[in-house]
Amino acid sequence: MTDVRCPMCGKLNSDDLEVCQYCQARLKPLIAPPDDEATTRELSSAMYPADPRESEKEAEPESAIPDWLQSLRPDRDEEEYAIPPSAEEEPPAWTPHPDTGSLKQKPADAESDYRDWLSSLRADDESEAVPEARLEDTSIDWSTPEPEGEEAPGWLSDLRSTSEETSLEIPAAETAPLSSLENPDWLRQLRERQMGETEPAQDEEAQPDLAELSSEIDTGSEAFSEEPAEQAEEEEIPDWLSGLVDSPSDDHPDDLPDWLVSGSPPPTESATPALIEEPSEEGLTSLPSEAEMQIPDWLSGIMNSQTQAATDELPLEEEIPGWLTGKEKLAVQKQGPAEPEGEVTGAEFEWLEAQGLIAPEKKPADSQPKVVAPFTMEEETAGLDTDELPDWLKEAGAQEAQLESVNASEEDASLTPAALPAWLEAMRPVEAAAPGVPRVDESERSIESSGPLAGLRGILRAEPDIARQKKPPAYTIKLQVSESHQAHAAILEKLINSEGVVTPVPARAVVSRQMLWRAAILVILLLAAAWPLYSGSQGVALPQLPNEVFSARAVIDGLLVDETSNQGAVLLAVDYEPGFAGEMDAASAALLDHLMIKGTHLALVSTTPSGPALAERLVSIVNQHSNHQYSRSNQYVNLGFVPGGAAGLLGFAQSPQRVLPYTLDGSDAWNDGLLAGITNLSDFSLAIVITENPDTARAWIEQAQPALGGKPLLLVVSAQAEPLVRPYFEGYPQQVQGMLVGLAGGAAYENSMQRSSLARQYWDSYSFTLAAAILIIVIASALNALPLILSRGKKVKGEA
């Protein structure tokens, strides 16, 4: 179910609603059902009586109105006012006759409606756009094909056929008879001609327009009569038009069609004569008989009356309708003629009554004649699409223009401008005035289809255009995507698609490149170290005695040992870690061997928890390699571990018996045994510290050396500690009297002793391993650094 948008508030309502549920405005126009059209018309007219045009439109069937006549209407909706197939419908009885201005059965509001209608027509004339609008309306109308099955009125069809022959274009939709409410152009033209004809004959101001029109018609007819001779082959003036001047028939007041009398639309029968016929040779001076012309009776009556007025110089004041008297031709205005002024009575249609065309009716005394905006052929032809107008109208327009120009010149010479009443002045078309009213091409405007303003054009919509559900225009979107954009988009798509996807972590390689490197280096070093051991090679010369080793040798050589007095007891601090046992054992073995040779008693002590065990191990190794028999409690005592680091060492240095009263095996070392009589560190003849840690060496030097009382202190240190310990040897006062540094020191001491020990066994392997290490470092470093050097060179070249 489609929704209907309210024309007032713009909100959507259900299709089945009659009024808007929000603002109570009517959603659907009051259109009578097809089976009760008359009732619908009455109802609609009762509801919307303001616009006579609307009522006119609703009243008369579409089929009865020719297109060119319908085009005169300003707001024309094709759909609504399409020419119905049947033209048998009659306008409602209350619709006023456009010519007579009165109605046979004129309702109270009909006259006002008619006046509004006429005023609207006049308002249309005031703007130049109106004719064009009408023209465009007519263009639409012209294009409307005649529905099949419709039968145009005979007179109209004759006109059409004649126009076809005479290249006059008659719209196919001209099937509807003329409406009594319409003011066809041709009729206006006729009136204008009559007025133009009669004007020169009268000097009075109240020259009726009809006289002018008549004169114009006469002249026009004369012109027409002249033209056929010239344009006999090109155009054919209808007989009725030619007969307008000659014989205005007033003998046929009763010949007016009933519809014209009653105000109802004429029948669609072919009773209406064709309007266009081949002009007679006599021209338009004499109207052919009706039988020949086949013109409507009312029209013939007009013609007759006009002709009679032209020939008989009718008292136009009485006969000329008020609307004609008050009518001013625009052409005359352009040329500056004074418009005839005069009171226009309400007897607008008196001329018709005078002709007997219509029954005299009660005319309101105060009724103002309806002044129809004077149309001139000039105006009309200016705005009309000449290609679409019938030829006879074109000729009429041309002739009228000629007449007007002639009359205007004549008027300028003879006539004085008439004083128009104010109301008439107000109704004067302002075509010559402000031309600046912008024309609005109302044909582009859509016609309102619902609501109280249905059928009108140019209505502001209740709903904004933006709210109208229009299908948006389809714009082709063609992105200009570059290759880089595509690549980026692909990357982004890949990232998004990979989101949530579990990517397995690559397993570590069992054998990595780094492991291979390590394995290779290990193999090389092992081979370098194992080969001399395996081969038993001892070809590498031991080092010469360095200064620090010489000093140490000298100290031990000067050591006086008295076994009976325990003189020469040596304090031996084994303070290296088990991991450095390979180096430290080899470095200290020769020194210890020398002490064992001298028979000194040894007091083993350590500041590390594993020191005592290491001390035992060292003694056993030396015993093994040097063939000594040093045993615990006989030649050496193991005092154990001194806790507290440097602080503990300080305490031990100050009071060794108090810090270590017992040996590791639980015996009293200081009162009875090898250390009897020794109470301080100064009682020892020598202190030797074996350590790989320079901090330990420093602690012994700083804490224990002062307590030695000038007794020598020897150090056996690892090669890594040499830089930190050497200052103590080379400094002044010399705090360290001798020093063995690493395997080289031990080897040198062995060399001086001429005794083979661990150092001699390790020296060849040490030499070979050292060489291998140097080669590995140099070659591998060069291989690793070479690419970087080359790349840097390329960078420099590139920058240069």
Binding site: Q514, E577, P578, G579, T608, P609, S610, G644, G645, A646, A647, G648, E692, N693, P694, D695, A699, Q720, A721, P723, L724
Partner: protein
């Protein structure tokens, strides 16, 4: 009381007074900017990345005794341990501390316990967070290496008294792909760490860790006092060398 004792007394008292003065004065003035040490900046990033990755941080305090000067780098390590513990509290894997000395193991446990308690996460603490991995240097290294490999360690902080065995620990961390920041008061360890660690701290850079990681007025004051007395020592050495050259005996 000999000259060396007097000089030592004066030196220590002056240092204390200078630290106190600079600390009190520094509270009222903006912090002084020191030279950039990239190692601490990378440490911060490594901590953040470890927290985000849910991996573990490792702090090793060395094997220095508590009764000597070797405790000083271990104290620095304890300060870093507290800072790391606070930063990595939200991590799935809390940091772990290893040491080669019993007293340091107890101190590391106490530091972690107090840190968690101050944050309000006392229930998250476990004594396993502070471990004694060995009583000898190489056993200490041998006990630390499996923890680095199996404990998903992505960053190791080695601050304490080490020997050359620290190369084993640093190499294990390097092979594990983690970041290694290491410093020691031992020259041998410094030389070894220069070749094996990613971010070695040479000399007294280790003792500036407090001022760079958790700056306060006292940390800054002590660092500035170090700078002052460094120049004093330089002057004293130069003057003594000149006097020695001139023939004066001290």
């Amino acid at each position: 009381m000999n000259l060396s004792t007097i000089l030592g007394t004066v030196f220590v008292l002056a240092f204390i007074l200078l630290v106190l003065g600079l600390g009190i004065w520094g509270r009222k003035r903006p912090a002084r900017l020191f030279r950039d040490i990239p190692a601490f900046a990378r440490l911060g990033r490594a901590i953040g990345m470890a927290v985000e990755a849910g991996s573990r941080l490792h702090v090793s305090l060395g094997r220095g005794g508590t009764t000597g000067a070797q405790i000083a780098p271990a104290l620095v390590g304890l300060g870093l341990l507290e800072r790391i513990a606070r930063a990595a509290l939200v991590s799935d894997s809390p940091p772990v501390a290893t040491s080669g000395e019993g007293a340091l193991a107890v101190l590391s446990q106490d530091t972690l316990r107090s840190t968690y308690r101050s944050i309000g996460a006392a229930g998250q603490y476990s004594p396993e967070f502070g471990q004694l991995t060995g009583v000898t240097p190489f056993s200490y290294a041998a006990g630390t290496i499996p923890l680095i490999h199996d404990g998903h360690i992505t960053a190791s902080v080695l601050t304490g008294n080490f020997g050359s065995e620290v190369a084993l620990i640093a190499d294990a961390a390097e092979r594990n792909g983690g970041m290694t920041l290491a410093g020691s008061d031992n020259l041998t360890a410094q030389a070894v760490l220069y070749a094996t660690a990613q971010e070695p701290l040479i000399g007294e850079d280790l003792f500036a860790a407090g001022a760079y990681t958790r700056p306060n007025s006292w940390q800054t004051a002590s660092l500035r006092a170090q700078d002052v007395f460094r120049w004093v020592l330089v002057a004293a050495i130069l003057i003594g060398a000149i006097l020695k050259l001139l023939g004066f005996e001290l």
